[in-house]
C-alpha cells in the first residue's frame, strides 16, 4: 500500500508546476554559483600563493641572518582556500583565517584584512549549502504544506482513507515522497554543478569528491526531513490549505531569517564575555607586577651576548610571555565557548543546523579553524624544540632563552630546509564528525519529533 501511495505522490509532485519552477530555478542557481566559484577560486588561490611566497621568503631571509631571529619573529600563517568551497564556504572569509605565532608561542588569530571588501554588504556565496538552505528549505515546505489540507479540499483525502490504509501509512507515504521529490530536485543541480567544477580542472574526481558529495546529500536529506515534517505539521494543523501555506511561510521566515539573524544578539545576551579592553588591562597589570619585581638593570642591553643583565631580561621576558599567554588563552577559550554555545542554541532552526553539518562534510569553517589552532600549538612545540636544539649546539651562545630578544641565544644562521614547517592536514573522518555529532543527533530527533507531532494531529484530523 505504501508503494502505491509513494508512487502516486511522487508522480503528482513531479508533474506539478512548482516542481518545474523549482527545478529550473535550482539548476540555474547551481550552475551560476559554480561558475562564480571557479572564477573566484582562481583569484583567491593566487592571492594565497603570493602571500605564502612572501611568508616563506621572510622566513628564509631570517634563517640566513640567525636562528634566533627566525625563532622570535612573530608571523602570520594564512589558511589555504579550500577546493571544496563550492559545496560550502562555511563563512570562512568572515572567520579568523590567519594565526600569529613565533617559536615561543601561538599568539593570536586574525581575519586577514583584505579577505573581504568592507564596502560590500555581507552575503552568502551561491554554493550548494546556501542553495539547500534557502531554496530547498522553501521547496520542502512548499511540497508538503497542502499534503493533507489540500487533499481535503479536493475531497480525495476522505476517498483515500476509505480504503484499507491506515492514517499513519498515508502520512508516512506523503512524508517520504516529499523527501524523494526533494532529492529529485537536488540531484540534477548537484550533478551539473559538479560537472562544471570538475571540467574546470580545479577539482579532481576522486574518492574524496565522491564521499563529500554523498555526505552532503545525506545532510541535505536530513534537513529536508525536518522541514518536510514541519510542512506536514502545518498541513494537519489547519483546516484549509491557505492557512497551511501561511503557517509554513511563517515557519520558513522563522528558520531562515529570524533565528540565523539573531545569533549575535543571542551570543551577547545569553553568553556575555569580557571586553578586549579589560583583557588588555589585565595583561598590562601583570606586566607591571613582573617589571616591579624584576631585578634592576633587567632592561640593559649591549652587543656582548654574555652581559649578565641579558639573563635577567630573558627571565623577565619569559615570565611576561607566560603571564600574557595565560590570560589570553583563557580569553580565547571564552570566545570559543561563546561561539559554540550560540551555535548550539541556534540549532533550534534546521537551517543553521544544516550549515553546521555541512562544515563537517567539507572539513571547513569553525571546526577546521579549531583543528588548525590546536595543531599549531603542537607545531610551535616542535619549532621551539628545534630551536633549543640548535642553540644547545652553539658554544658561543649563553643559552638565555628570551622570546622577544635576539641577543642572548645563538647567532648562527640555519639552513632553511631543516626548519620545521606547518603543514595543514586534511581533517580525518573522526575529526570531522566528532564536533558535530550533537547536531546530528539533534537533527534526527527533531525530524522524528515533528513528524510524530503531525501524526498525532493527523490521527485526530477531520478528513471530511
Amino acid at each position: 500500500m505504501l508503494r502505491t501511495i509513494l508512487k502516486r505522490e511522487i508522480l503528482h509532485n513531479l508533474y506539478s508546476l512548482r516542481f518545474l519552477i523549482s527545478l529550473s530555478l535550482l539548476v540555474g542557481v547551481f550552475i551560476a554559483g559554480s561558475f562564480s566559484f571557479v572564477k573566484g577560486y582562481d583569484a583567491n588561490i593566487k592571492n594565497y600563493q603570493e602571500s605564502q611566497a612572501q611568508f616563506l621568503d621572510e622566513m628564509k631571509t631570517q634563517a640566513k641572518e640567525s636562528a634566533t631571529r627566525l625563532a622570535v619573529k612573530q608571523r602570520a600563517y594564512t589558511l589555504r582556500p579550500r577546493t571544496n568551497g563550492f559545496i560550502s564556504d562555511a563563512k570562512e572569509k568572515y572567520l579568523p583565517n590567519a594565526i600569529v605565532f613565533s617559536a615561543w608561542n601561538v599568539f593570536s588569530f586574525q581575519n586577514k584584512s583584505g579577505s573581504t571588501n568592507p564596502f560590500l554588504n555581507k552575503f552568502d556565496e551561491l554554493n550548494w549549502s546556501f542553495i539547500v538552505c534557502l531554496i530547498l528549505s522553501f521547496v520542502a515546505l512548499l511540497f508538503t504544506f497542502d499534503a493533507v489540507s489540500g487533499e481535503k479540499e479536493t475531497k480525495t483525502l476522505a476517498l483515500a482513507l476509505s480504503n484499507s490504509v491506515s492514517r499513519g501509512t498515508l502520512l508516512f507515504g506523503k512524508y517520504v515522497s516529499a523527501i524523494l521529490t526533494f532529492l529529485a530536485m537536488v540531484l540534477p543541480g548537484i550533478i551539473l554543478s559538479g560537472l562544471v567544477v570538475l571540467l574546470s580542472g580545479r577539482v579532481s574526481l576522486g574518492p574524496v569528491f565522491v564521499l563529500e558529495t554523498v555526505g552532503f546529500l545525506v545532510v541535505a536529506i536530513l534537513m529536508a526531513a525536518v522541514l518536510a515534517a514541519f510542512g506536514l505539521l502545518c498541513s494537519v494543523a489547519a483546516r484549509n490549505s491557505n492557512i497551511s501555506l501561511l503557517l509554513a511561510l511563517a515557519f520558513w521566515i522563522l528558520f531562515v531569517v529570524v533565528v540565523p539573524n539573531s545569533s549575535t544578539f543571542i551570543a551577547k545576551t545569553f553568553f556575555p564575555i569580557a571586553k578586549t579592553e579589560a583583557i588588555q588591562k589585565k595583561v598590562w597589570a601583570a606586566f607591571d607586577d613582573l617589571n616591579k619585581s624584576a631585578p634592576p638593570g633587567s632592561w640593559m642591553s649591549s652587543s656582548n651576548p654574555f652581559l649578565p643583565q641579558h639573563e635577567l631580561r630573558a627571565n623577565l621576558q619569559r615570565k611576561r610571555l607566560e603571564a600574557e599567554k595565560g590570560i589570553r588563552d583563557a580569553y580565547y577559550q571564552s570566545l570559543f565557548r561563546q561561539f559554540e554555545k550560540t551555535r548550539l542554541l541556534t540549532a533550534v532552526s534546521p537551517v543553521p543546523l544544516f550549515q553546521y553539518l555541512t562544515e563537517a562534510v567539507t572539513g571547513g569553517g569553525y571546526p577546521r579553524f579549531r583543528k588548525v589552532w590546536n595543531d599549531f600549538h603542537v607545531y610551535q612545540g616542535q619549532f621551539l624544540a628545534f630551536f633549543k636544539n640548535l642553540d644547545a649546539q652553539d658554544p658561543k651562545s649563553p643559552h638565555w632563552y628570551n622570546p622577544f630578544d635576539i641577543v642572548s641565544t645563538t647567532r648562527k644562521p640555519v639552513a632553511f630546509e631543516t626548519v620545521p614547517q606547518f603543514v595543514e592536514k586534511p581533517m580525518t573522518f573522526t575529526e570531522r564528525v566528532r564536533p558535530i555529532l550533537v547536531f546530528f543527533v539533534i537533527n534526527i530527533v527533531y525530524a522524528c519529533l515533528v513528524f510524530f507531532l503531525s501524526f498525532a494531529l493527523f490521527v485526530r484530523y477531520d478528513v471530511r
Partner: protein, 535 residues
Amino acid sequence: MVYQIARKDFLNNLLSARFIIGFMLCLVLIPFSILINIDDYRDQTNQCRLDRAAADKNIKEVRVYSGLRPEIIIPPEPLSIFSRGISGQVGNRVGVRLGEKPLLAEGKIAARDNPFLASFFSADFVQIAAIIFSLLALLFSYDIFTREKEDGTLKLQMSNSLGRSQFLAGKVLGILGTLLPVLVFSFLLSAVLILFSKNVFFSAVEWGRIGLLFAVSLLYLAVFIFIGLFISARSKTSVTSLVLCLFIWVFFVFIVPNLSAYFAESFVRVQSRENLNRMLENLDKEFGRVQSDRYKAQSISETYNASWRSSGDDGYIETYGNSRIEFEAQRRRSMISEPLRIDYADKKWTHQEAYLESLAHQARVAERLSAISPAGFFRIIAAAICATDMRSHEHEMDRVRQYREAFVRYLQNKNIFTSFRYITPAPPETFLTEDQLIEKKTGGEFKTVQAFDAWAAQQKDARAAWLKLSKNKIQGDQPSDFPYLDVSDMPGFQERSKSLFSGLENSILNIALLLIESILLFYIGYVAFIRYDVR
C-alpha cells in the same frame, strides 16, 4: 463604484487569515529587528565613548608637537537602527598621521569582542521590511483576478456597467487600503520603541528621514502589488499564480542580493590588500633611503645618543636631558624628515586611492546588479537615506582626509618642524654642553666627557657607568618635569552636519527609477487585465 469595490475588498481582506498572520508577522519581526539594532547601536555608542575618551586623553597628554597625532572617532549613525548598510563592516577610528593618509577606518567592528561572531549575519529593519512587505503585497495580490474568476463573481461584475479600469482601480485601492495600515503600524511601532529606549535620541532631521523611508517603503510595496497583479492577470488559476509569486519573491528578495554580491566578488577583482601593503612598505624603504641621503648631504649623524627618547613612529621624537649638540642634531633631522614624510604620504596615496577605487568599483557593480530586484533597489535607497551606505562612508572619510590636510597646514604654519618644540618641551636656553651634563650628572666628580669615558672604560661591571650617570637627577631630563602642550589652537574635526536631503542626490534618481518601475509594472498589469478572459 471604485470606492465600493475597494471597500468590499478591504473588508474581505481584513477578515482573512492572511491578514491576521501577516499582521502577526509584522508585530513580531519589526520590534525584534528594531530592538536588536537599538541594542547594537547602544553598544556602538558606548564603544565610541570609550574610544573618544582615550583619544582625548592621548591628545591632552602630549608634551611635544611630534607626538601630536589626533585620532578621529566617527560616532555611530542613529539611523543605522533602521538600515545598517555597511556600518557594521567598517571601523570607527581613524588615526591622523603625517606619513600616510587615512585609508580605511579601524577599530573594533560593530563593537564586537568576539571575531567569530562576524560569521553570523544580522538583519535590520529594512531587510525585514523588504521581506515582509513584499510577501504581504504578493499574498494579497496574487489572486486579485483569479479568485473572483474561480468564484464566478468576476463575470458577474463585468456584466454590469463597470469598466475594467474602474474595477482594477477598486481592487488596487482595496489592497493598498489593507496594507497601508500595516505599513503605518510598523513604522509607528518602531518610532515608539525608539522614543522609549534610553540613550537613543533622534533629531528632527532623523525623523524626517524616517518619513522619507516610509515613502520609499510605500513605493516598494506598490511595486510588489503590481507584480502580483500582473502575474494574476496572466494566470489561469490561483494556485499557479501563488506558486509563481512565491518563487519570484524568493528570487528577488533572497537570491538576487546574494547572487549580485557573489558575482561582483568573483568577476570584478579587487587589488589584494597585501599587494598594497607591499607597495607601501617599498615606499617606506625608499623614504628611509632618501632621508638618510639627505642627512648625509648635510652631514648630520644618524646615530642617536639621547638619554630619553621616544619610539620615532611617524616622526614621533620626544627627547630629554641631552646635550645641546644632540638636541640640535635631532632638530635638524626632523627638519629634513618631516616635510619628506608628508611628501611620501602623497606618493603612497596614489596606490591607496587605486586600491580604494577597486573596492568601491566592486561594491558599485554589486549594487547595480542587485538593482535587478526591487528588494535590492529598496535596500540601496534605504541605506542612502539612513546615511549608512558606501557613499556616506566615503564622504566621511574624505572629510577626515581634509582634516588631515588642515592639521598638516596647522603644523606647517607654526613652522614647527624647524623648532625644538617639535622634539622637546625644554627651552633651548637651558640646553647644556656635553661636559656640563657629565659634571651635573656625576655630581661634579667628572668635569669632562673624556675623563668620564676613561674612568668608565676601566670598570668591569657594565652597569657601573650607567649607575654613576643616574646618581644625580638633573632638572629637565624626563617628561614629568614639563607640563603638557597647550593645543587649544589646533583645528578640531567637525562632526558631520546633516540636513534632510544632504547626500541623497543619487537616491533621487534611484527613487525615480523605482517609481518608473512601479508605473511600468502597473501598466503592463493593466494591459494584461484588459486582455484577460474573465470567463
